[in-house]
Amino acid sequence: MSAKQPFEAVIAAHGPVVLRVCRALLGPADADDAWSETFLAALRAYPELPGDANVEAWLVTIAHRKAIDATRAAARRAVPVADVPEHPSAGGPGQRDLDLHSSLATLSRKQREAIAYHYLAGLPYAEVAAIIGGSAEAARRSASDGIARLRRIHPGPGRNGGPS
Protein backbone atom coordinates (compact mmCIF):
# COMPACT_ATOMS: atom_id res chain seq x y z
CA MET A 1 0.00 0.00 0.00
CA SER A 2 1.41 3.37 -0.93
CA ALA A 3 0.94 5.85 1.89
CA LYS A 4 -0.62 9.13 0.88
CA GLN A 5 1.64 12.13 1.20
CA PRO A 6 0.55 15.28 3.04
CA PHE A 7 -1.59 17.52 0.83
CA GLU A 8 0.97 20.28 1.27
CA ALA A 9 3.34 18.20 -0.85
CA VAL A 10 0.66 17.86 -3.54
CA ILE A 11 0.36 21.64 -3.74
CA ALA A 12 4.13 22.05 -3.87
CA ALA A 13 4.45 19.49 -6.65
CA HIS A 14 1.47 20.46 -8.80
CA GLY A 15 0.41 23.99 -7.80
CA PRO A 16 2.45 25.74 -10.51
CA VAL A 17 1.25 23.51 -13.35
CA VAL A 18 -2.38 23.81 -12.31
CA LEU A 19 -2.01 27.60 -12.22
CA ARG A 20 -0.55 27.61 -15.75
CA VAL A 21 -3.42 25.45 -16.94
CA CYS A 22 -6.02 27.72 -15.30
CA ARG A 23 -4.39 30.78 -16.87
CA ALA A 24 -4.47 29.21 -20.29
CA LEU A 25 -8.19 28.55 -19.94
CA LEU A 26 -9.32 31.71 -18.15
CA GLY A 27 -8.40 35.33 -17.54
CA PRO A 28 -6.01 36.09 -14.68
CA ALA A 29 -8.56 36.82 -11.93
CA ASP A 30 -10.76 33.87 -12.87
CA ALA A 31 -7.64 31.69 -13.10
CA ASP A 32 -6.70 32.43 -9.50
CA ASP A 33 -10.21 31.59 -8.37
CA ALA A 34 -10.25 28.41 -10.43
CA TRP A 35 -6.92 27.39 -8.87
CA SER A 36 -8.35 27.88 -5.38
CA GLU A 37 -11.56 26.03 -6.22
CA THR A 38 -9.55 23.20 -7.76
CA PHE A 39 -7.34 22.67 -4.74
CA LEU A 40 -10.17 23.11 -2.26
CA ALA A 41 -12.19 20.43 -4.07
CA ALA A 42 -9.08 18.26 -4.29
CA LEU A 43 -8.38 18.66 -0.58
CA ARG A 44 -11.94 17.60 0.18
CA ALA A 45 -11.68 14.46 -1.94
CA TYR A 46 -8.02 13.68 -1.27
CA PRO A 47 -8.47 11.09 1.50
CA GLU A 48 -10.58 8.94 -0.86
CA LEU A 49 -8.21 9.23 -3.83
CA PRO A 50 -6.72 5.80 -4.61
CA GLY A 51 -3.07 5.61 -3.55
CA ASP A 52 -1.90 4.74 -7.06
CA ALA A 53 -3.86 7.49 -8.82
CA ASN A 54 -2.13 9.88 -11.22
CA VAL A 55 -2.41 12.98 -9.05
CA GLU A 56 -1.62 15.46 -11.80
CA ALA A 57 -4.23 14.05 -14.18
CA TRP A 58 -6.72 14.06 -11.30
CA LEU A 59 -6.00 17.72 -10.54
CA VAL A 60 -6.21 18.73 -14.19
CA THR A 61 -9.57 16.96 -14.43
CA ILE A 62 -10.83 18.99 -11.47
CA ALA A 63 -9.37 22.21 -12.92
CA HIS A 64 -11.11 21.42 -16.22
CA ARG A 65 -14.49 21.29 -14.44
CA LYS A 66 -13.77 24.40 -12.39
CA ALA A 67 -12.81 26.32 -15.53
CA ILE A 68 -16.09 25.32 -17.14
CA ASP A 69 -17.94 26.51 -14.02
CA ALA A 70 -16.05 29.80 -14.13
CA THR A 71 -16.81 30.31 -17.82
CA ARG A 72 -20.51 29.68 -17.23
CA ALA A 73 -20.54 32.03 -14.26
CA ALA A 74 -18.82 34.71 -16.33
CA ALA A 75 -21.42 34.27 -19.08
CA ARG A 76 -24.19 34.76 -16.52
CA ARG A 77 -22.50 37.90 -15.21
CA ALA A 78 -22.06 39.37 -18.68
CA VAL A 79 -25.31 41.31 -18.90
CA PRO A 80 -25.51 43.61 -21.91
CA VAL A 81 -24.49 47.17 -21.13
CA ALA A 82 -25.24 50.38 -22.93
CA ASP A 83 -21.73 51.72 -23.25
CA VAL A 84 -19.90 49.02 -25.11
CA PRO A 85 -16.21 49.87 -25.15
CA GLU A 86 -14.87 50.68 -28.55
CA HIS A 87 -12.98 47.96 -30.31
CA PRO A 88 -9.32 48.73 -30.73
CA SER A 89 -8.48 48.85 -34.41
CA ALA A 90 -7.39 45.42 -35.51
CA GLY A 91 -4.19 44.74 -37.32
CA GLY A 92 -2.33 47.89 -36.34
CA PRO A 93 1.24 47.73 -35.10
CA GLY A 94 0.00 47.77 -31.50
CA GLN A 95 -1.70 44.47 -32.09
CA ARG A 96 1.66 42.78 -32.19
CA ASP A 97 1.84 43.08 -28.41
CA LEU A 98 -1.72 42.02 -27.94
CA ASP A 99 -2.26 40.38 -24.62
CA LEU A 100 -1.44 36.79 -25.35
CA HIS A 101 -4.37 35.58 -23.40
CA SER A 102 -6.73 37.13 -25.89
CA SER A 103 -5.02 35.29 -28.73
CA LEU A 104 -5.52 32.05 -26.87
CA ALA A 105 -9.11 33.14 -26.39
CA THR A 106 -9.58 33.11 -30.18
CA LEU A 107 -9.09 29.36 -30.18
CA SER A 108 -11.96 26.99 -29.71
CA ARG A 109 -12.42 25.73 -26.17
CA LYS A 110 -11.36 22.25 -27.25
CA GLN A 111 -8.17 23.59 -28.79
CA ARG A 112 -7.30 25.58 -25.69
CA GLU A 113 -7.99 22.63 -23.42
CA ALA A 114 -5.99 20.24 -25.59
CA ILE A 115 -3.02 22.62 -25.64
CA ALA A 116 -3.18 23.30 -21.91
CA TYR A 117 -3.54 19.71 -20.82
CA HIS A 118 -0.99 18.29 -23.25
CA TYR A 119 1.65 20.99 -23.45
CA LEU A 120 1.33 22.67 -20.06
CA ALA A 121 0.31 19.74 -17.87
CA GLY A 122 2.26 17.20 -19.93
CA LEU A 123 -0.58 14.70 -20.11
CA PRO A 124 -0.51 12.19 -22.96
CA TYR A 125 -3.29 12.63 -25.53
CA ALA A 126 -5.13 9.57 -24.24
CA GLU A 127 -5.45 11.29 -20.83
CA VAL A 128 -6.34 14.59 -22.48
CA ALA A 129 -9.11 12.83 -24.41
CA ALA A 130 -10.42 11.25 -21.21
CA ILE A 131 -10.85 14.74 -19.78
CA ILE A 132 -12.21 16.69 -22.76
CA GLY A 133 -14.05 13.84 -24.48
CA GLY A 134 -13.50 12.34 -27.93
CA SER A 135 -10.57 10.25 -29.10
CA ALA A 136 -6.89 10.69 -28.42
CA GLU A 137 -6.42 11.40 -32.13
CA ALA A 138 -9.05 14.15 -32.01
CA ALA A 139 -7.32 15.67 -28.99
CA ARG A 140 -4.02 15.64 -30.86
CA ARG A 141 -5.66 17.33 -33.85
CA SER A 142 -7.23 19.98 -31.62
CA ALA A 143 -3.88 20.78 -30.08
CA SER A 144 -2.02 20.98 -33.37
CA ASP A 145 -4.75 23.05 -35.03
CA GLY A 146 -4.66 25.39 -32.07
CA ILE A 147 -0.88 25.70 -32.14
CA ALA A 148 -0.98 26.39 -35.88
CA ARG A 149 -3.51 29.12 -35.35
CA LEU A 150 -1.47 30.69 -32.55
CA ARG A 151 1.53 30.74 -34.85
CA ARG A 152 -0.45 32.59 -37.50
CA ILE A 153 -1.62 35.16 -34.96
CA HIS A 154 1.79 35.51 -33.35
CA PRO A 155 4.52 34.97 -35.89
CA GLY A 156 6.99 36.45 -33.46
CA PRO A 157 5.50 36.20 -30.02
CA GLY A 158 7.24 37.48 -26.98
CA ARG A 159 8.68 40.51 -28.78
CA ASN A 160 7.94 43.78 -27.21
CA GLY A 161 8.20 46.10 -30.15
CA GLY A 162 9.65 49.51 -29.44
CA PRO A 163 7.97 52.66 -30.65
CA SER A 164 7.69 52.56 -34.42
Partner: protein, 204 residues
Protein backbone atom coordinates in the same frame (compact mmCIF):
# COMPACT_ATOMS: atom_id res chain seq x y z
CA UNK B 1 15.08 38.36 -38.10
CA UNK B 2 12.10 36.28 -37.25
CA UNK B 3 12.75 32.65 -36.64
CA UNK B 4 10.15 30.28 -37.99
CA UNK B 5 10.84 27.29 -35.82
CA UNK B 6 9.42 28.48 -32.55
CA UNK B 7 8.70 25.97 -29.91
CA UNK B 8 4.96 25.39 -30.11
CA UNK B 9 4.55 26.81 -26.64
CA UNK B 10 6.51 29.95 -27.16
CA UNK B 11 4.23 32.84 -26.31
CA UNK B 12 1.49 30.86 -24.64
CA UNK B 13 0.26 32.77 -21.62
CA UNK B 14 0.60 29.65 -19.55
CA UNK B 15 4.33 29.70 -20.12
CA UNK B 16 4.68 33.04 -18.40
CA UNK B 17 6.57 32.09 -15.26
CA UNK B 18 4.42 31.43 -12.24
CA UNK B 19 6.14 33.26 -9.41
CA UNK B 20 6.70 31.98 -5.89
CA UNK B 21 5.00 35.10 -4.53
CA UNK B 22 1.85 34.37 -6.51
CA UNK B 23 1.84 30.76 -5.42
CA UNK B 24 2.42 31.65 -1.78
CA UNK B 25 -0.51 34.06 -1.81
CA UNK B 26 -2.74 31.43 -3.41
CA UNK B 27 -1.53 28.82 -0.94
CA UNK B 28 -2.26 31.03 2.08
CA UNK B 29 -5.70 31.90 0.80
CA UNK B 30 -6.39 28.20 0.24
CA UNK B 31 -5.27 27.36 3.79
CA UNK B 32 -7.67 29.93 5.22
CA UNK B 33 -10.56 28.70 3.09
CA UNK B 34 -9.76 25.09 3.97
CA UNK B 35 -9.77 25.93 7.66
CA UNK B 36 -13.08 27.79 7.37
CA UNK B 37 -14.57 24.84 5.47
CA UNK B 38 -13.45 22.36 8.12
CA UNK B 39 -11.05 20.66 5.71
CA UNK B 40 -7.82 21.50 7.49
CA UNK B 41 -7.34 18.33 9.53
CA UNK B 42 -3.73 19.13 10.42
CA UNK B 43 -2.12 22.58 10.29
CA UNK B 44 1.61 22.94 10.82
CA UNK B 45 4.49 25.37 10.95
CA UNK B 46 8.07 25.39 12.20
CA UNK B 47 9.74 27.68 14.72
CA UNK B 48 13.39 28.32 15.49
CA UNK B 49 14.31 27.77 19.13
CA UNK B 50 17.47 27.27 21.21
CA UNK B 51 16.94 23.51 20.80
CA UNK B 52 16.74 23.79 17.03
CA UNK B 53 13.90 24.04 14.57
CA UNK B 54 10.72 22.55 15.98
CA UNK B 55 7.79 21.34 13.92
CA UNK B 56 4.41 22.22 15.46
CA UNK B 57 1.24 20.53 14.25
CA UNK B 58 -2.35 20.99 15.41
CA UNK B 59 -5.73 19.47 14.69
CA UNK B 60 -8.91 21.50 15.27
CA UNK B 61 -8.87 19.94 18.76
CA UNK B 62 -5.45 21.21 19.76
CA UNK B 63 -1.71 20.80 19.52
CA UNK B 64 -1.07 17.24 18.38
CA UNK B 65 2.66 17.10 17.67
CA UNK B 66 5.90 18.86 18.53
CA UNK B 67 8.89 17.37 16.74
CA UNK B 68 12.62 17.94 16.95
CA UNK B 69 14.58 18.29 13.73
CA UNK B 70 16.33 15.02 14.59
CA UNK B 71 13.00 13.26 14.10
CA UNK B 72 13.00 14.38 10.41
CA UNK B 73 10.08 16.73 9.90
CA UNK B 74 9.15 15.28 6.51
CA UNK B 75 8.93 11.84 8.08
CA UNK B 76 6.84 13.25 10.95
CA UNK B 77 4.41 14.87 8.50
CA UNK B 78 4.17 11.64 6.53
CA UNK B 79 3.38 9.80 9.76
CA UNK B 80 0.71 12.39 10.62
CA UNK B 81 -0.79 11.87 7.15
CA UNK B 82 -1.00 8.16 7.81
CA UNK B 83 -2.16 8.33 11.44
CA UNK B 84 -4.55 11.30 11.37
CA UNK B 85 -5.34 12.54 7.86
CA UNK B 86 -3.49 13.51 4.67
CA UNK B 87 -5.38 16.83 4.70
CA UNK B 88 -2.29 18.59 5.98
CA UNK B 89 -1.30 22.15 5.13
CA UNK B 90 1.34 24.59 6.25
CA UNK B 91 -0.99 27.04 7.99
CA UNK B 92 0.78 29.03 10.69
CA UNK B 93 -2.23 30.78 12.13
CA UNK B 94 -3.55 27.80 14.05
CA UNK B 95 -0.14 27.57 15.73
CA UNK B 96 0.16 31.26 16.65
CA UNK B 97 -0.58 30.74 20.34
CA UNK B 98 1.72 27.72 20.56
CA UNK B 99 4.58 29.57 18.91
CA UNK B 100 4.09 32.54 21.22
CA UNK B 101 4.04 30.41 24.37
CA UNK B 102 7.15 28.53 23.30
CA UNK B 103 8.93 31.82 22.62
CA UNK B 104 7.98 32.96 26.12
CA UNK B 105 9.10 29.65 27.58
CA UNK B 106 12.53 29.90 25.98
CA UNK B 107 12.76 33.54 27.12
CA UNK B 108 12.20 32.26 30.66
CA UNK B 109 9.01 34.22 31.16
CA UNK B 110 6.57 31.32 30.86
CA UNK B 111 6.52 28.42 33.29
CA UNK B 112 3.36 26.60 32.28
CA UNK B 113 1.68 26.07 28.93
CA UNK B 114 -1.90 27.04 28.51
CA UNK B 115 -2.81 25.31 25.23
CA UNK B 116 -5.47 22.85 24.13
CA UNK B 117 -3.74 19.51 23.56
CA UNK B 118 -4.82 16.68 21.30
CA UNK B 119 -3.39 13.47 22.77
CA UNK B 120 -4.74 11.16 20.07
CA UNK B 121 -1.27 9.99 19.07
CA UNK B 122 -0.78 8.25 22.39
CA UNK B 123 -2.94 5.78 24.26
CA UNK B 124 -3.12 3.40 27.17
CA UNK B 125 -0.35 3.40 29.74
CA UNK B 126 1.79 5.82 27.73
CA UNK B 127 -1.03 8.31 27.76
CA UNK B 128 -1.49 7.81 31.50
CA UNK B 129 2.21 8.56 31.95
CA UNK B 130 2.02 11.74 29.85
CA UNK B 131 -0.94 12.93 31.91
CA UNK B 132 1.29 12.79 35.01
CA UNK B 133 4.05 14.92 33.54
CA UNK B 134 2.53 18.41 33.76
CA UNK B 135 2.30 17.70 37.49
CA UNK B 136 6.09 17.99 37.69
CA UNK B 137 6.44 21.72 38.16
CA UNK B 138 8.72 24.02 36.23
CA UNK B 139 12.30 23.71 37.46
CA UNK B 140 11.56 20.41 39.24
CA UNK B 141 12.35 16.86 38.20
CA UNK B 142 10.92 13.44 38.98
CA UNK B 143 12.39 9.97 38.60
CA UNK B 144 11.09 7.38 36.13
CA UNK B 145 10.21 5.24 39.16
CA UNK B 146 8.19 8.01 40.79
CA UNK B 147 6.21 8.59 37.59
CA UNK B 148 5.57 4.86 37.25
CA UNK B 149 4.14 4.86 40.75
CA UNK B 150 2.07 7.98 40.07
CA UNK B 151 0.67 6.40 36.89
CA UNK B 152 -0.46 3.43 38.96
CA UNK B 153 2.16 0.85 37.91
CA UNK B 154 5.18 1.14 40.23
CA UNK B 155 7.02 -1.67 38.46
CA UNK B 156 6.59 -0.21 34.96
CA UNK B 157 9.71 1.95 35.13
CA UNK B 158 10.91 0.93 31.67
CA UNK B 159 7.49 1.59 30.20
CA UNK B 160 7.69 5.11 31.60
CA UNK B 161 10.95 5.51 29.71
CA UNK B 162 9.23 4.34 26.53
CA UNK B 163 6.32 6.71 27.11
CA UNK B 164 8.74 9.62 27.43
CA UNK B 165 10.72 8.52 24.37
CA UNK B 166 7.53 8.46 22.30
CA UNK B 167 6.00 11.63 23.73
CA UNK B 168 4.28 13.33 20.76
CA UNK B 169 4.39 16.71 22.55
CA UNK B 170 7.88 17.18 23.99
CA UNK B 171 8.62 20.42 25.88
CA UNK B 172 4.90 21.22 26.18
CA UNK B 173 4.34 17.91 27.96
CA UNK B 174 7.54 18.05 30.00
CA UNK B 175 9.10 14.61 29.65
CA UNK B 176 12.48 16.34 29.96
CA UNK B 177 11.75 16.67 33.71
CA UNK B 178 11.83 12.90 34.13
CA UNK B 179 15.32 11.75 35.12
CA UNK B 180 17.04 8.72 36.56
CA UNK B 181 16.77 7.87 40.23
CA UNK B 182 20.52 8.53 40.61
CA UNK B 183 19.96 12.10 39.45
CA UNK B 184 21.57 11.70 36.01
CA UNK B 185 19.44 13.10 33.17
CA UNK B 186 18.81 9.88 31.28
CA UNK B 187 17.83 9.66 27.65
CA UNK B 188 15.78 12.19 25.74
CA UNK B 189 14.02 12.05 22.40
CA UNK B 190 15.50 15.44 21.46
CA UNK B 191 19.01 14.29 22.36
CA UNK B 192 20.99 14.74 25.60
CA UNK B 193 22.07 18.29 24.72
CA UNK B 194 18.45 19.45 24.40
CA UNK B 195 17.50 17.85 27.72
CA UNK B 196 20.48 19.51 29.38
CA UNK B 197 19.53 22.89 27.88
CA UNK B 198 15.89 22.64 29.00
CA UNK B 199 16.78 21.58 32.55
CA UNK B 200 19.35 24.39 32.79
CA UNK B 201 16.87 26.91 31.42
CA UNK B 202 14.36 25.93 34.07
CA UNK B 203 16.97 25.90 36.84
CA UNK B 204 18.02 29.47 36.09
Amino acid sequence: MTSHNHQPLHGLPGTVPVTDTELRALHDRLAERADAAGLLDVAYRTIDTPVGTLLLAATPDGLVRVAYASEDHDAVLAALAARISPRILAAPRRLDATARELDEYFAGTRHTFDLPLDLRLTAGFRRAVLRQLPGIGYGRTASYAAIAAAAGSPRAVRAVGTACATNPLPIVVPCHRVIRSDGSPGRYLGGPAAKHLLLNLEAA
